[in-house]
């Protein structure tokens, strides 16, 4: 009675239906007719998940406290030390208010270009290789698809699907995610790609120009998408921790430690209104390909490739670290080293580009001492 003709017929029909759904949904892409099905799922299961999360979250918090106890001790320790350091820095900062304001503007977080955000809580997480989460804010709260999601620390991802009271967020660490990024200080642009939590380093950064020097410790902010969707400019993404060079490759890949703690997401903010004024325009490098002078970098003995760079060419190539590259980069570099890193080659590049070199120099030198400076992307008015 178990494996009858009827069972096989039903199996065949259902498999055909699922294959048809895969085809239709895949071919349809963003405008797939099955999107309605997903909205239905969001409308039905969103509130249920919300309710279930309300019951389960306190239990989870209790468990987290027990499991994360050793971790918490370490964190308290680290935060106390950091607090000490910040207090000293604060004293130093008060001397130099104008510079602090410049940094504010650079990160696009204050005054002129503030983000308007809707706060939301993470209520469930995607399964398997998918790095997605559900948050408890939906179209009723003004959330739409392709909005940027941030935390107080930095970029989280973008909204891919919106229901009445919940929405789905694709995390920046997902392998399907790529975000335009900009190196703070030099202003060089590139692509930040997710590689998944399991790969050890959740984010990589690929510069479009392979001759540019990246240093561990440099920070990356979002470059901003066209029309501010899906990514608004100026959101902190992460810190470069090491550089992987692929001999013969056109691009150079940096491993990035994100500011956001992706494994412990709780309260996030959806940027519902982008900054009124793009704070990035003033520091953008010129778009057309310019004759690049081959930079003689001391740590790169391989043939440097000054040709026109193509993004993504090196993404899948196996990467190898150059022998003289420090394997574990120091987390915080002393400020002197940082500003000195923008050596003669850097200055020459600045001089040939159209923007004012002075702005860059100032920013580079102010950046390092205030690594932990005010970069919370809430506008003061919120």
């Amino acid at each position: 009675m178990n494996d009858t003709r009827r069972t096989r017929a039903v199996l065949g029909v259902l498999l055909l239906i699922s294959l048809a759904m895969i085809t239709v949904d895949y071919r349809g892409g963003e405008h797939s007719p099955l999107r309605g099905l997903r909205s239905f799922g969001e409308a039905i299961f969103g509130p249920i998940e919300d309710a279930a999360a309300a019951v389960i979250t306190p239990v989870g918090h209790a468990l987290d406290t027990i499991i994360g106890s050793p971790d918490a001790h370490r964190r308290v320790d680290r935060l106390e030390r950091e607090n000490q350091r910040l207090r000293q820095q604060l004293r130093a900062q008060q001397i130099d208010k104008s510079r602090a304001e410049q940094l504010h503007r650079l990160l696009g977080t204050a005054g002129l270009g503030g983000y308007r955000i809707v706060a939301a809580q993470v209520i469930s997480a995607g399964e398997g290789v998918e790095e997605t989460v559900t948050i408890d804010a939906g179209s009723g709260d003004g959330v739409r698809t392709d909005m940027t999601v941030i935390t107080g620390d930095g970029l989280v991802g973008r909204v891919t699907q919106v229901g009445p009271a919940t929405s789905t967020v694709l995390l920046a660490t997902d392998a399907a995610s790529s975000v335009g990024g900009r190196l703070e200080g030099s202003g060089e642009i590139g692509v930040v790609r997710g590689t998944g939590r399991r790969s050890g380093s959740p984010l990589t950064f690929e510069l479009l120009d392979s001759t540019v020097e990246i240093k561990p410790g440099q920070r990356i902010v979002s470059f901003g998408s066209q029309g501010n969707r899906p990514y608004v400019p100026g959101v902190p993404i992460g810190t470069v921790i090491r550089i992987e060079r692929t001999p013969g490759s056109l691009t150079r890949t940096a491993i990035v430690r994100p500011f956001t703690h992706f494994t412990a997401l709780d309260v996030v903010g959806v940027v519902v209104a982008p900054p009124k004024k793009n704070p990035r325009d003033a520091v953008l490098p010129p778009a057309p390909p310019k004759p690049v002078t081959p930079t003689p970098s001391p740590s790169n003995p391989g043939p440097s490739n000054p040709g026109p760079s193509t993004p993504g060419a090196a993404a899948s190539a196996p990467t190898r670290r150059a022998p003289d590259e420090p394997s574990a980069a120091p987390r915080a570099m002393p400020s002197g080293e940082e500003s000195a890193s923008a050596g003669p080659s850097r200055r020459r590049r600045s001089a040939t580009s159209t923007e004012s070199p002075r702005t860059r120099r100032t920013l580079t030198s102010t950046e390092a001492p205030r690594r932990r400076g005010p970069r919370t992307p809430h506008s003061p008015g919120d």
């Binding site: 178990n2 949904d25 997903r38 799922g41 995607g126 559900t134 392998a175």
Partner: protein, 181 residues
Amino acid sequence: MSRNVLATIVVVAALLLQLTVANRLPLPASVTPNLVLLAVVALALVNGSMTGLVTGFFAGLAADIVPPADHTIGRYAFVYCLIGYVCGLAADDLERSPVLPFVAVAAGALAGSVLYAMVGMMLGDPRTRWPVLSHQLPVQVLYDVIASPFVVWAVLRLTRRAERQHDPGGLDAVPGFYRAR
């Protein structure tokens, strides 16, 4: 009919637990047990391949559309439907072999991950790459096998209770291994 209601309840409960609890567990290697798959395997083992494949299809479809799913609709439906059918074929042997649930769960977890990844590779999904998969597979199978007794036990118990109420002296679907408890 109560069997269908039961299967629906089990699948929805598994899905909710999966999304709100299991996926957020801070387990080593960032892999979590796949409760929906376990529920499908357990229901198929108890009720046969017809229930298995129908349950698998609808459980997979639910997993495809429930937030925060962000993959092509139909992928899990296809995979779970096949697994439900194959595990259902083994339902008759459940009586004889006490380790069968574990073997079925391990095979189901392995086949589920591989099939899902294969469909993903055919569609050009950047998330399902071989290096990630090869790291994930052994851990995934291990976690699923560890979690399987709980799910299989719960399903068997629910079935037994439902059948005692609605069908006294009817089908004896509860295997010897679990009947002792």
